[in-house]
């Protein structure tokens, strides 16, 4: 499949598809970070995670419409505020979901899967009722549009760069929170040994609740980032949830480095393959390769050293 291209063309193709893959990588990583924290910490599979992303995306859309109508002069800045608001809205919803639903099901992971699927159905229908069945996208500020051209054949969209920077900030923030803060210490202790952590005075229930809220909040940021590359519809979340699961499982649950590496390889594989074969087949090959690898290495790329 490479025969019909010259080397320099191939170089440009790889560079451009690579940057296209980076947008996908950013969204996948932001989604997977939240999912991985929740899964690694509580063993809970959150099927509604994609819908929390959609919450973030719809919040951004809402903020955009609000700013456009009432404060048109603030348009260049609203997006930064929208990211924070998306985080808060998704986080609060996540907190409520944990309180009302998830905490009753910690000992039954398979049931959590079904209950959160139910939650995702309800959320999807709420989006449809509130925002309509049509796909929406916020008006992006001017500084996010356009592209940067280092050479004639390479064209790098600015929104991709912004999303990448955002992802880097969020990822570093999560690292700091988990590995440097005292709250992170409690989270890691709970992950390693829940009973013992409880015995030394950690309020594991509160740790769980805030971890879940944090994971959902990050999904909200992913949603805000998502609006810069595609439009949002009621079923947007579902489209990404399976890919996100694969990122988490492939990376090895409870390993943040693994999550980053696997999000990068999955996004890049898909994006590069997409150029040469059709998009749907690219996805089939990527997922199939993942399933095969997982059959031989079920614990994922970076297995956690936690004794279970």
């Amino acid at each position: 499949m490479f025969d019909e291209y010259t080397y320099s063309e191939l170089g440009s193709i790889f560079a451009m598809q690579g940057f296209a893959g980076i947008s996908l990588f950013s969204v996948l990583l932001l989604m997977a970070l939240g999912l991985a924290i929740i899964f690694g910490q509580m063993g809970v599979i959150n099927m509604a995670h994609g819908e929390f992303m959609a919450v973030g995306a719809y919040t951004t859309y809402f903020m955009s419409t609000l700013t456009e109508t009432y404060f048109p002069s603030l348009m260049p800045y609203y997006f930064l505020v929208a990211i924070v608001v998306a985080f808060c809205v998704a986080g609060v919803l996540g907190y409520l979901a944990e309180y009302a639903l998830i905490r009753h099901l910690y000992k039954r992971p398979l049931d959590t899967l079904l209950a959160t699927w139910g939650l995702s159905l309800i959320m999807q229908q709420s989006f449809r009722t509130l925002f309509g069945a049509r796909e929406v996208s916020p008006t992006l500020p001017d500084w996010l549009l356009g592209s940067y051209q280092p050479t004639d054949t390479i064209d790098i969209p600015l929104n991709g760069m912004f999303v990448l920077a955002l992802t880097a900030v969020v990822t570093l923030g999560v690292f700091y929170l988990l590995y440097k803060s005292s709250w992170g210490l409690r989270v890691r202790a709970t992950t390693q040994n829940r009973v013992m952590s409880g015995a030394v005075g950690i309020n594991t229930k509160s740790v769980d609740r805030y971890t879940f809220a944090l994971g959902c909040g990050i999904a909200g940021i992913a949603g805000a980032a998502f609006t810069t590359i595609a439009s949002t519809g009621p079923t947007t979340g579902t489209l990404y949830i399976v890919d996100t699961f694969m990122v988490v499982v492939f990376g090895g649950a409870a390993s943040l480095i693994g999550t980053i590496v696997s999000a990068f390889s999955i996004a890049q594989a898909q994006s590069l393959l997409e150029f040469f074969i059709s998009g749907s087949m690219a996805k089939v090959y990527t997922l199939f390769a993942l399933v095969l690898i997982l059959m031989f290495k079920p614990e994922g790329l970076f297995a956690s050293k936690v004794r279970r």
């Binding site: 063993g43 599979i45 639903l101 009753h104 099901l105 000992k107 039954r108 992971p109 398979l110 049931d111 959590t112 899967l113 079904l114 209950a115 699927w117 139910g118 939650l119 995702s120 159905l121 309800i122 959320m123 999807q124 229908q125 449809r128 009722t129 579902t238 399976v242 699961f245 694969m246 499982v249 059709s278 749907s280 087949m281 996805k283 089939v284 997922l287 199939f288 993942l290 399933v291 997982l294 059959m295 031989f296 079920p298 614990e299 279970r308």
Partner: protein, 382 residues
């Protein structure tokens, strides 16, 4: 006689439930519904095959497969391929540029029948394929997963990914599979018009008979020693392993068996509905099959059938009048069945039936179905 009573029917309660179900679907429904509604119920009953398979797999085995639609779809596509080839005989398709191949292949510039379609020209081979291929596929997946002790949520996710892969593949390879529209325009089975009323009646009763047979066989499996092992594996897998049993083999067997049952359901679906499309393969139908089993009571074979009938009837009724409410209701159902009624309809029946019908009492105490465990951490399996 005792063998039939205890092993195949499951004692007094089991027999009563079985007779009630048989009476309902074989006598009462055909009496009260016209052929259109009956055909619809027949369609629901094909989903019940998948629900029954999930009772075995999930309710008793503790293995949650979110890819039962894959096997349902494989069975359905097998049957659809045979019917499609019969419908695209050279005389019927002489206006195509290549007569004798299905119309969607002709539209996609395929000039020769692909190799994997060839066996489906024979009815015998088709039946064999429907019964063996999905089971074989499940065997391969199961072998790869269970011998490496992949279980719990990991298994659920991987089966879900397989459902995604198959759906994308079917939709993407339009020339070979009919794409998003599926395989449509099926007319005859060995020359017999499948859209006629007599054929619809025949398929309804065939389907109901097969379903009841599957329930009896499943009951036999569950009352056998294997059934006890399955339960033991669900509750304390490690202890079963330490007792010297090879847990993986049992899991592979039940997964393949469940795949075969679902595939039979899929084949009957194609026969009664007259088409097969990828929308019965993907994530959503697969997870809906789980909720059929859950609503019926995940440890009740017969409950699964009622659960399927109830949800589908509700879905049809609601999507006719309040389509926007249906998803809310379905979501609420998922949540409430998990949080408040983990034993589903069968659980309610077991709790309340002996109070209403006192003669069930003594049996209900001794032959009580083990409750759903609350301590499956799922983590210990990887």
């Amino acid at each position: 006689m005792n063998f039939v009573y205890e092993k195949l029917m499951g004692g007094k309660q089991g027999l009563l439930g079985f007779v009630l179900l048989a009476a309902l679907i074989l006598v009462i429904m055909p009496m009260f519904f016209d052929i259109f509604r009956l055909n619809l119920i027949g369609k629901y009953l094909t989903y019940a095959f998948a629900a029954v398979s999930l009772v075995l797999l999930w309710g008793y085995g503790g293995i949650l497969s979110l890819g039962q639609g894959v096997f349902f779809g494989l069975g359905g596509y097998g049957m659809a391929m045979f019917l499609k080839l019969e419908a695209s005989s050279p005389e019927n398709t002489k206006i195509q540029s290549t007569p004798g191949i299905p119309d969607f292949m002709d539209w996609n510039q395929i000039t020769e029948l692909p190799w994997f379609w060839v066996p489906f020209e024979s009815f015998t081979l088709t039946i064999i394929a429907i019964l063996t291929l999905p089971a074989l596929f499940a065997y391969i997946i199961g072998k790869a997963m269970f011998t490496r002790r992949v279980g719990g949520v990991y298994f659920a996710i991987i089966t879900q990914v397989i459902a995604v892969i198959l759906t994308i593949l079917i939709v993407g390879q339009q020339g070979f599979t009919g794409g998003i529209n599926g395989i449509t325009d099926l007319r005859t089975l060995n020359g017999w018009d499948i859209t006629s009323d007599s054929a619809k009646y025949f398929f309804y009763f065939l389907n109901a008979g097969l379903l009841l047979t599957v329930i009896v066989i499943s009951r036999f499996i569950l009352t056998s020693k294997f059934g006890s092992l399955l339960l033991a594996m669900r509750d304390k897998e490690d202890r079963v392993r330490f007792s010297g049993y090879d847990v993986a083999h049992f899991k592979i067997f039940i997964f393949s068996f469940a795949a075969m049952i679902s595939a039979i359901g899929g084949a009957m679906f194609t026969l009664q509905v007259g088409f097969m499309s990828p929308s019965f393969v993907g994530i959503v139908p697969s997870i809906e099959m789980v909720i059929f089993a859950a609503v019926g009571g995940r440890i009740s074979l017969i409950g699964a059938v009622y659960g399927t009938l109830m949800i589908n009837a509700g879905k049809t009724a609601f999507s006719e009048s309040f389509p926007e409410l249906w998803l809310f209701l379905m979501g609420g159902l998922f949540i409430s069945v998990v949080m408040f009624f983990p034993n589903g309809l069968a659980g309610l029946w077991n709790d309340y039936a002996p109070r209403v019908f006192p003669f069930l009492k003594e049996k209900a105490k001794t032959k009580d179905v083990p409750p759903v465990v609350t301590d499956e951490t799922g983590k210990g399996t990887v």
